[in-house]
Symmetry: C2
Subunit: 187 residues, 2 copies
């Protein structure tokens, strides 16, 4: 039996991306984004949606670049903090103990402390109401060496934060099945 | 120490959405989508990206609507199956034991067996290369009564499938912290 909750912005899972950019004064800035995800395979594009009044919006508009940094569960407090307060009035990186590193390929900083980092250049955007959806071309993916197993990103070692439907953070759970594999037998 | 993996389409977490639509012959069809997520708050929009050669693409083009159905971990095999094979040649719903229900508000079926369902009307799109990103206006969210706790969506009861970076499915893990709360003390 299904219950109708009406129109609302909810999906499961949602990410807890740390989106980093240089601000109007070319100072590193960061905010938390739950509205985002991969949107294309070739070229590799990621979408992140930012409210127009955000300080990060001004920075991305100016520099046309951002990084997506995946925080680990031990960074829940920092992740939450940079989502609550504005970089216009708070030195968020210093307070959160996050280190901005100059990206190799885009005019945006990445966060040294995050295990997985995507360097992105704004290629397109779409204004949708409250938010501007930025479509970023992923120019490089960087990962902590100790988050790899046999050269592949190990989700256990990344230990990512996941955003839940009631404004809560979760960790990743048990492995369930191999994709492009477990379903074949149903044919 | 970070290692560069080059440009690639990866983020953590990714969803395992079951996107359902009516096909060219107005028959219910479904496929798995990992490229997607919420993209706007007001109005509530969700983005799902579909390859142009997909049978689902034809169906969404014709009916301008789709539903996003969140599968539970016990549906990993069905979720994987409908992602591998085409509805053009396979009666995927029958094989997967999924029941198409006529939506109240959009010209797309939803899946009775999935605990969480979003009814969406295509409002905008963006062609990005391999994929067309559909921006769907969420007209209603439906949830199984037994997946609610105190009127709210309970992520434990939904028990959603999550898509990992190496083509694998995971379940949700432990609660970590409350958002818009745990970070306040860093101010």
């Amino acid at each position: 039996m299904k219950v109708s909750l009406g129109p609302r912005a909810v999906a499961i899972p949602m990410p807890a991306f740390l989106v980093a950019s240089y601000d109007q004064d070319s100072k590193p800035n960061v905010m938390t984004v739950a509205w985002g995800g991969i949107v294309n395979s070739e070229p590799p594009y990621i979408g992140v949606s930012i409210r127009h009044h955000r300080w990060t919006y001004e920075g991305i508009e100016k520099h046309q670049a951002f990084t997506v940094n995946i925080p680990k569960t031990s960074q829940a407090q920092e992740t939450d903090y940079v989502g609550i307060f504005s970089g216009k009035t708070h030195d968020k990186l210093a307070k959160a103990g996050l280190t901005a590193v100059k990206s190799d390929l885009v005019e945006a900083p990445y966060l040294q402390e995050c295990p997985l980092v995507l360097e992105c250049k704004v290629d397109k955007y779409l204004d949708l109401g409250t938010h501007r959806l930025y479509v970023g071309l992923i120019l490089d993916v960087k990962v902590n060496e100790n988050a790899l197993t046999d050269g592949k990103i190990d989700i256990r070692k990344v230990d990512p934060l996941i955003f839940g439907p009631n404004q809560d953070y979760y960790q990743i759970g048990d492995f369930v099945a191999k994709a492009f594999s477990v379903g074949k037998s149903l044919k």
